[in-house]
């Protein structure tokens, strides 16, 4: 199993953040810096997930082999929040390789969701399924929506 050092999320660029260890001191520092998500945001995020994401990405966030990518500790989920929000807004239709497996199904654009809903669902995803990453804000989603 490959091991990667966790890099502070604030300086994270396109570098992978596949985390395996809970005990890394760097990780604790990151967790401390991450803004804790509000409970209401998480509850709303779960609702948005159930209604819009679950049938493809599954209840455990593990996706479907060869088709729908997992949301568990992947660069896409833990990395650049703007990029992540853009995937939700614009959809995703490229074949993507994650941990040696290829996922090829089409993800539709979910731009009918509000910035608040997208912020909530991404915050939920980034703090569930074994993920421990910072919350996504409405401002960040707004930036992703207005950017090209």
């Amino acid at each position: 199993m490959k091991r990667f050092t966790l890099i502070c999320l604030t300086v994270l660029t396109a570098v992978t953040t596949y985390t395996t260890a809970q005990k890394s001191p760097a990780k604790k520092a990151t967790a401390a810096k991450a803004k804790p998500a509000a409970a209401s945001s998480l509850a709303n995020g779960k609702l948005v997930y159930t209604q819009n994401c679950l049938s493809c990405h599954q209840a455990d966030g593990g996706g479907v082999s060869n088709m729908n990518p997992p949301l568990i500790k992947t660069t896409y989920v833990l990395g650049d929040k703007i990029r992540l929000a853009k995937i939700v807004l614009n959809g995703f239709s490229e074949k993507v390789e994650i941990e040696g497996d290829i996922y090829s199904n089409i993800m539709p654009s979910l731009n009918y969701l509000s910035n608040q809903q997208i912020a909530d669902v991404l915050t939920y995803v980034r703090s569930n399924f074994g993920n421990k990453a910072s919350a996504v804000t409405v401002a960040e989603v707004a930036k992703a929506r207005t950017g090209k």
Binding site: T50, Q58, G62, S104
Partner: protein, 429 residues
Amino acid sequence: MKSKAVFSSIVPMLAVAGMLWYGSGIKSTSAVTADADNAGLKLPAGFGALRAAENTGKARHISITPAGDIYVKLARPKEGKGVLFLHDTNGDGKMDETQGFGNYGGTGMYIKDGYLYASSNSEVFRYKLNDKQQVIDPNAPEKIVTGLIEKNQHETKSLVLDNAGNIYVNVGAYSNSCQEKDRTPGSMGQKGCPILDSAGGIWQFKADKLNQTYGDGVRYATGLRNVVGLDWNQQNNQLFVMQHGRDQLHDLFPAMYTTQQSAIYPAECMYALKKGDNAGWPYIYYDQDQKKKILAPEYGGDSKKEGMPEAITPAVAFPGHMAPNGLLFYTGSQFPEKYKNGAFIAFHGSWNRAPEPQAGFFVVFQPFKDGKPFGQYEVFADGFTGSPEKTASGRADHKPCGLAQGPDGSLYVSDDVKGTIYRIVYNKK
């Protein structure tokens, strides 16, 4: 004197040859021993199973030679090899020699009249076999078909041959239901679905002509969203296919379908095809409880309105989303009489039933009589996932994919999660 010497040296040679021949004869009977746990499978009384091979890779369709060797098509090449040749050196049923060739992933694998046919996700190749039914030159296949559409979904190209020199290749639709915006809630269907020009059907090509593409072939049947399991029924001399029905009725049209309805509809259909048939995708789907062809919501349907009366009716309709990836008409005589000429179907298992529990992940038997489905299907081999919880979550240890019949009438099942090749045998008392 001279001839006598020659003769005396020939006798022991003949004896050895005879022993070898006799030995190989033993190998091709079903005198193999089932694994103590029947390879983890639950089977009807009298049947047993062994793991003929393990960890082969993402094993899709398989074909068994008359000598009992196994050819396996891998979805993705393993160490650069996309086709595996498995050989059993000591006759215990455990394949202990592996060779590989073909640097492409794919699904199709079929042996017919001295050739091994294999497909990538856009092409079909064939390899000439020698008198031992082994590929002569793994590095020089003939390219039979090229340029088939390969997009993000339903890209695998299953294949089968008839007895008249034709090969049938599935070209799956690169869409769920031909919506203007694929898999987008509320998006309506494209008029005169343009996908059907080059996908969403079965194409027929000549088995021995090189470099054919769409213009050289015939669109044999259309309106089939995606077919993975297919077989040539020797009794009827007819092509049978298993369609993967459309996904996400609830996600896309939540006002018309509950999550429970979306989990079981539409049916996964078996079709008996004739040239020119249209199975109706994307305009209609088959509802196995109403027993009707229902107009798709993308084309004005409301879960009850019927549509497209000219579309063919399925031969058998199974519950939704179980993903039939293998179809095999059993022609052997090892199994009891009721299995003869009936259909085995490998259901890969669902994902699109969520949030309802997933289903499938088993091999079903559909009895046939006089070339037609006769009576209810039954689950034949179950237990691939490892536990009921793993079935419900879809996190299966193994998923059945391809089916093949051995020369002794054993049934082989491939698994494209861990690459186990199962061999199911009948233990006569």
